[in-house]
Structure formats: structure tokens, C-alpha cells
Amino acid sequence: MNTFLSLLSTDFVLFALVAGLSLAAVAGPLGAFVVWRRMAYFGDTLAHSALLGIAIGLISGMNPQLSILISCLLFAFLLTVLEKNGAVSTDTLLGILAHSSLALGIVVLALSGSVRVDLEAYLFGALLTITQQDLLWVVGVCAGVGIVLLKYWQEFVAITVHEDIAEIEGSKVARYKLLLVLLIALTIAVSMKIVGVLLITSLLIIPAASARLIAQTPEQMALRASAIGAGAVLAGLLIAFALDVPVGPSIVVSATSLFLVLTVLRRR
């Protein structure tokens, strides 16, 4: 523990901690919506497509953070449109897009040749390589997402409970649905560095599912999901240092452990 505290005085650990906690704070409530609206696969698809964004960004020489962000938002928008008019069912559509964009991303990365890319960092996260600029990016986006989420919280809950009633009570349901999807896309885009493409959805879903066990209202579930997520980030960092293992997977393993503990406690 003492070594961990002394590690905190080093920039890269502090950066990792702040970035991880910022993400956990917004991933709690957003994850609750992902669970309530059954969007887990949707989140997964966005995360996979982000790799294509990275590849395109590298080739065009764009800032990788920016290219991930743009590709996530574009895919989120595209999925929303396709879902509405699709000839195939949503899960099939998501399956096609998720894996084809991931595959295409890897092919494009390989073709780009000249640039050396640490694929593993994008797949599983590289929280400890986070720079000051990365940190500002993560904290800024999380703050923005948090503010929008707070401002429209009632609307998001209302459209999730019953769309028709919400519409008749004066909510623009289609607009809020799209906004919620874009918030999720933004969060996924910035969590790339933290837990990576393959583990992002778990950071949204596992804290929310754990919080469901100890909540009576949507607000309790959202806030407790944030707290559980924060706990998982802390525990994940500790485990990573103690055992010298990758941080992203450690965070996810910690979250899952919390979920299991809560499940067992609730059963008794």
C-alpha cells in the first residue's frame, strides 16, 4: 500500500487514476442505460468499429483521439439510421458491422506498414502510457458527457420507461434516443486508452448490473454503478501493480469480482 501511495506521486500513476475515475463516473449512469435499453451489443459494435477509426486516422495523419471520436460518432449515427430501416434484425446488423469493421481496421493497419502500431494497446488498453494531453482529453469529454447526462436525465429515464407516454408528455423521443447513443459513443471513444476495444462494454455493463442488485430507483442504480466502477478502477490499478499484470483486464476482473460478491450477498 505504501508503495502504491508513493507511486501516486509519479505522474503516470496519478494520470491513470484520474482518467480511470473520470471514466467510471460517467460509465455508471451510461452503463445503466445500456443495461435498461439492452444496448450491450451496440456498445460492443461501436468499440470494434473504433479500431477502423484508429487505422484511418493513422493513415491520414490525424490525431488518433480525434479519429476514434469521429468514427465512433459516425458509426453510432449510422447504426441508428440502419436500425430504423433495416431489412435484417438488429443483432445481425450489429454482428456484421462489429466484426467487419474490426477486421477491416486490422487489415488497414497492416497495410499502412510504415507506421508501427501497438495493436495490443488498443485491444486491451494501455492506461499507464497515458499522457497529460490524453488525460485532458478523457477528463474533458467525461465532464461534457456528465453535464449533458445531468441536464437531460429526466428525459432519458422517461423515454426508457415508455416511449409513447414520454412523447405525449412532450418529449422529442427520437432526438433524445440519438443523443443518448452519441453520449455512449463518446464515452467508448475515450475509454479506448483505458480498457481497450475488447473490454470497453464490460466497464459499462458490469458496474451497472452490480448496482441493480442494491438499487430501488434509477438514480440509485446510476450512482451506485459509478461508485462500483470507481472501486473497480482502484482495485484494478492495485492488482496491476502488485502482480505486474495489464491494467485494463485487472479493472474488468475487479468489477466482475464486485458483481459476484454482491450477487452472493443478495442471495443470502
Binding site: Q154, V161, H162, I165, I168, E169, R212, Q216, T217
Partner: protein, 278 residues
């Protein structure tokens, strides 16, 4: 037969010559009706007659292919949908559910939720989880949400669905008394002409087009109504049997609550009932 309102006050809502097709099938064909302030209008008709589609068009939830909907300016609508499915992953108390109705308004009373729960005699449900409610309780909670907006027009899509038969009569009486005390108009879909008879001002019998309309007593003897629901429909006892042959799931519900427990019970109640229960 497009009817037009001729009372002094403008109608709350008026539909003129509404047309709607789904996949090339005409669901609504030149349907016109109106609801006046304080009036209770009931839409009846067989399954698939287009009742819910018509109501959704009237509410502005979907667009008609042709025809017009005129709502009184600033008309406040209260809507009670056919069912409410709350995902089990969403923790939601009755109180929290009802509070959503107030998100766009500044409450004038100190405790509007307590007031409406008292009005509907479900005060004890305030802290219950919505997902754990019985059919009758859920319908009342939905009604409470609609009433919290102090609507000028209440739109109810089969309000008695999933409610036992004793509860159904009580629920319709409650709707009647609320409409009177709140002074709001009511547009509702029902399968149970015999149950809504006493409280309804106007019945519209719909089967893709308006077959007949008028006072419930008039409609129940109208040849168009009889041909739609069968000859037995003219006496009130036979309305039951007759409904059973034509209106599947809902009528499963009516007798259903008495006989739901087993399929044998339903055959005892009514020979035609068995085939209806899915």
C-alpha cells in the same frame, strides 16, 4: 358518413376522413369522429379493426396517410397505453414512475403524487416496484400517470386489460367519476360494450371504417353492430357469448380472470371460450 361537431364549444379533438395502410393493407378507411369536452367516447370493434392505430394517429404518435386531425389549441393529453412493460433490470418505484409525468411542469399542489394516488385509492402502492404490480394495480398506476398532467382529454387504450371482472366494472366507474370531477373528455378503446354502456356517451363501432355510432343503447341494436358481432349481441347476456366468438384475447380476459386458473374452468364457463384462450 363524416360527422361534424355542431355544439357551441369546439371539440377537443376531431379526426376527419383518416386513411391508413400498412404494407398495402388498408387498416383505416375514411374514419371520422370527434370528442367534445366532458364527453366519453368509446371505440369498439373486433381485433385488428384498427382501433389502436386510430388512437395512435389521433395522439400524433403516427402519421395518417390522408385525412386530418384537429386538436384544440394547447390541448393537454393524458395517455394510458395498452400495457406497460418495465425491463426487470430497471428498478422503478411507483412514486418515481409517476414523478416522470411532472418533469415538464411546475406542480401547483404540495404533493400531486399523493393526491392522485389517494384519488385512485392506491396510496399503499407508493413505494412498490412497478414491475411487481398486479394487472389491476398497474392499470391504476398508468391511469394515475395520465391524470397527473391534469389532461383535457384522457386517451385510454383498453384500460381494463388484465383486470379481473369485478375490478373492471369498478375501474370503468372510476374513470367515469374522474372524467366528471376533472371535467375532461375521454376517448377509450374497449371490447366490453356491456361494461362501458352506462358511462359512455358515444360509441363508435369500428371495423376499418365506422360501421355505426351513437348512444350505446342505439348501437347495440344497430344492424351493422349486430352483423359485426353476431345476432346474439342484442341481449346483454348474449353479448358475452357473442364476444367470445369474435374477440379472442380480450374476451379471454373477461371470463379469463374467473377461469384463468385452468383450461377446464374456462370450458365449464362457456363452451366457445376454450378455443379463444391461447
Amino acid at each position: 358518413m363524416p360527422r361534424t361537431s355542431n355544439s357551441v364549444q369546439p371539440p377537443l379533438l376531431e379526426a376527419r376522413a383518416i386513411e391508413k395502410q400498412f404494407n398495402g393493407r388498408k387498416v383505416l378507411d375514411s374514419v371520422s369522429f370527434f370528442v367534445e369536452p366532458g364527453q366519453i367516447v368509446t371505440l369498439i370493434g373486433p381485433n385488428g379493426a384498427g382501433k389502436t392505430t386510430l388512437v395512435r394517429i389521433a395522439l400524433g404518435l403516427i402519421e395518417a396517410d390522408a385525412g386530418s386531425i384537429t386538436r384544440r389549441p394547447d390541448l393537454r393529453l393524458g395517455y394510458m397505453p395498452q400495457s406497460l412493460h418495465i425491463d426487470p433490470t430497471l428498478p422503478l418505484t411507483v412514486e418515481r414512475f409517476l414523478a416522470l409525468a411532472l418533469r415538464h411542469t411546475r406542480a401547483s399542489e404540495a404533493d400531486p403524487i399523493g393526491a392522485v394516488l389517494g384519488q385512485l385509492k392506491i396510496t399503499q402502492l407508493r413505494h412498490s416496484q412497478v414491475a411487481a404490480l398486479s394487472g389491476g394495480e398497474r392499470q391504476r398506476v398508468l391511469l394515475a400517470r395520465a391524470l397527473l398532467r391534469k389532461p383535457h382529454l384522457l386517451v385510454l387504450d383498453e384500460p381494463a386489460q388484465g383486470v379481473d371482472i369485478a375490478g373492471q366494472a369498478e375501474l370503468y366507474a372510476l374513470i367515469d367519476s374522474i372524467a366528471e370531477s376533472e371535467g375532461c373528455g375521454v376517448l377509450m378503446i374497449s371490447h366490453d360494450l356491456h361494461l362501458v354502456m352506462s358511462s359512455t356517451d358515444e360509441v363508435i363501432c369500428l371495423n376499418h371504417h365506422v360501421c355505426c355510432h351513437g348512444k350505446p343503447e342505439t348501437v347495440s341494436t344497430d344492424p351493422a353492430y349486430l352483423s359485426l358481432f353476431g345476432a346474439g349481441a342484442s341481449n346483454s347476456l348474449a353479448v358475452y357469448t357473442h364476444h367470445h366468438t369474435h374477440e379472442h384475447d380480450i374476451h379471454g380476459d373477461v371470463i379469463g380472470e374467473c377461469s384463468h386458473a385452468s383450461a377446464t374452468a374456462s370450458t365449464e364457463t362457456d363452451g366457445t371460450n376454450k378455443g379463444e384462450e391461447k
